[in-house]
């Protein structure tokens, strides 16, 4: 990898340990992917929940945070993904004091490094949406795929250690989706139906994601006639990135780099794979349980936008969630403040639901809180969440927000289980 004089100084430790760590991480990853040099990035989004960090990860952050100024400070605007513990609700959820302590220590370290604790995975909707062609370092699969695909920004999946390196140095290795050649479509899917609600968009994303062979695939979707909303794109992209582990899709006539098939395929257009509504329905049905027991309903993964919170509040207004079922919605601190002001939090909580701020369900010790509360059967309208939680000991199923709320009120899974 070709490094500038300044980058070589950082690598040699002349600007302190923090910058040296950053350049070492950039060089190791860049070399692995044959990067020729680095690219300066405009902003960083960093994922570092305490479950993923563990004690050793938090100790590492504290080590960086103890370094003197200016070496320890981030050099570009840097924001955080959801945390693992909502300190106002952790005891009620069965999280432990040691989990909260780890959270408090990690947060203190990030503040010392100069991170803005936005604690959100929907930064592309709520904080500072990137623009077409802007190079960024985003650290959540959902935020990365939305920034790349819908906003036309350029990022790889920058996991915590590398997003941190990017924040400390202002750089990322130039490979993958920073480069034009990796943004060309590699496979084509054609749909002839319009997904009805958010869970349907997620299921479609899951279907496409399951077909992805590796990170380097770029699926192209044709046949979408009505422009999806931001929340529909969010659910589609989050599920696609979760099932497929790919950070970019194009939607013909809709996303900014895909005005038509010719542009997106660069003369090598593959044969279209048709996706019928029945194909997507079959994916949803594969998660159907054999009985009607229900423990918990979760709206998260990604955190809910203000519009989604409003819809949830309207579904719940004047109703009561069954005493056998818990209902949880997670959103960002900024959206939570807005919901408090607008009476949406009150509507959800009066019905018996919980609104959590700055966390996301799968990032908050999902296995431990499931065991602490006896939660096994889980319903969500997020295909991403359903995909993740099987490995955490849950029996997750996917349904629309409306159906999820109805089942939470009834205390059991209603409707066709066949």
């Amino acid at each position: 990898m070709k490094l500038s004089d300044y980058e070589q100084e950082m690598l040699a430790g002349e600007h302190g340990y923090s910058k040296q760590y950053g350049m070492q991480q950039i060089q190791r990853v860049g070399t692995f992917f044959d990067a020729t040099d680095t690219v300066e990035i405009a902003q960083v989004h960093l994922m570092a929940d305490p479950e993923s960090l563990g004690e050793t990860g938090v100790e590492f952050l504290e080590c960086l945070a103890a370094r003197p100024q200016p070496e320890r400070s981030v050099v570009v605007p840097a924001v955080t993904d959801p945390r693992g513990v909502d300190l106002n609700a952790y005891k009620k959820l069965g999280q432990t004091d040691s989990m909260a302590d780890l959270e408090i220590r990690a947060t203190a370290a990030f503040r010392s490094l100069g991170f803005m604790m936005t604690d959100t995975c929907i930064n592309y909707q709520t904080i500072c949406p990137p623009v077409l062609g802007e190079h960024v370092a985003f650290g959540d699969t959902g935020s990365s795929i939305y920034a790349n695909s819908v906003q036309g920004a350029r990022t790889n999946f920058e996991g915590g250690p590398s997003a941190l390196a990017a924040a400390l140095t202002g750089r990322a290795p130039r490979y993958g989706f920073h480069l034009d050649q990796h943004r060309v479509g590699t496979c084509l899917f054609e749909i002839d139906f319009r997904p009805k609600d958010l869970s349907d968009w997620g299921a479609l994303g899951a279907y496409v994601g399951r077909e992805m062979a590796s990170y380097w695939e770029v699926p192209v979707i044709a046949g979408v006639e009505d422009v999806p909303t931001s929340d529909e794109m969010k659910q589609f992209g989050a599920a696609l990135a979760s099932f497929g582990s790919t950070p970019l899709f194009h939607m013909i006539g809709i996303t900014p780099e895909a005005p038509n098939l010719k542009t997106v395929f660069d003369s090598n257009q593959p044969k279209a794979v048709k996706i019928a509504k029945q194909d997507v329905d079959a994916l949803v049905k594969s998660y159907m349980p054999s009985d009607d027991k229900l423990d918990v309903v979760v709206f998260a993964g990604p955190q809910l936008s203000l519009m989604e919170m409003q819809t949830l509040a309207e579904h719940l207004r004047g109703r009561s969630i069954h005493s056998d079922v818990a209902l949880i919605a997670t959103t960002s601190p900024e959206i939570k403040y807005a919901c408090d002001r607008m009476g949406l939090t009150e509507a959800i909580e009066t019905a018996g639901g919980m609104v959590l701020s700055g966390v996301c369900f799968y990032q908050m010790y999902a296995r431990e809180i499931g065991e602490a509360n006896g939660w096994k059967r889980l319903m969500s309208n997020s295909a991403k969440l359903v995909n993740i939680l099987g490995g955490y000991g849950y029996e997750p199923m996917l349904a629309s927000m409306e159906t999820c709320v109805e089942c939470a009120v009834q205390g059991r899974i209603t409707g066709d289980l066949s």
């Binding site: 991480q25 590796s214 582990s245 955490y392």
Partner: protein, 134 residues
Amino acid sequence: MTKVFIGHPGIGDIVTGEALVASDNFSARYDLDRINGVFSRPQHKLCGQSYDGKILVLNAAKGGVATAWMLQEMVSRGIAPKALILNFANPIMAQGAAFANLPMIDRFEVDITESVPNGAEVHVDPAAGEIRLL
């Protein structure tokens, strides 16, 4: 029978151990019970099997970004694979391996999950991008 397989130069130090092989994909968050050191995702072919101290040979890196931190967390607790051998890594797996200094190689000339027998003793040389059956 071929005994040496060449991939892209990887990350980490030379290591030798027993291969645990499946054609499935890999994510630390989605697939593992990291407390007990076993695969826990019901749909995974290795569900219930211990990965501790094994040379994991799997198809592609999948799932989210948590693996980038989790590999180091697993190594620090002493319940971790010895090396990751994949047909296709992704940035998250590379970032995690670089942070944890966990040996990893990918991009072989063959399907590595069909080339290394389950349970075989293997020698992994990341700098050379080479796996050798012992």
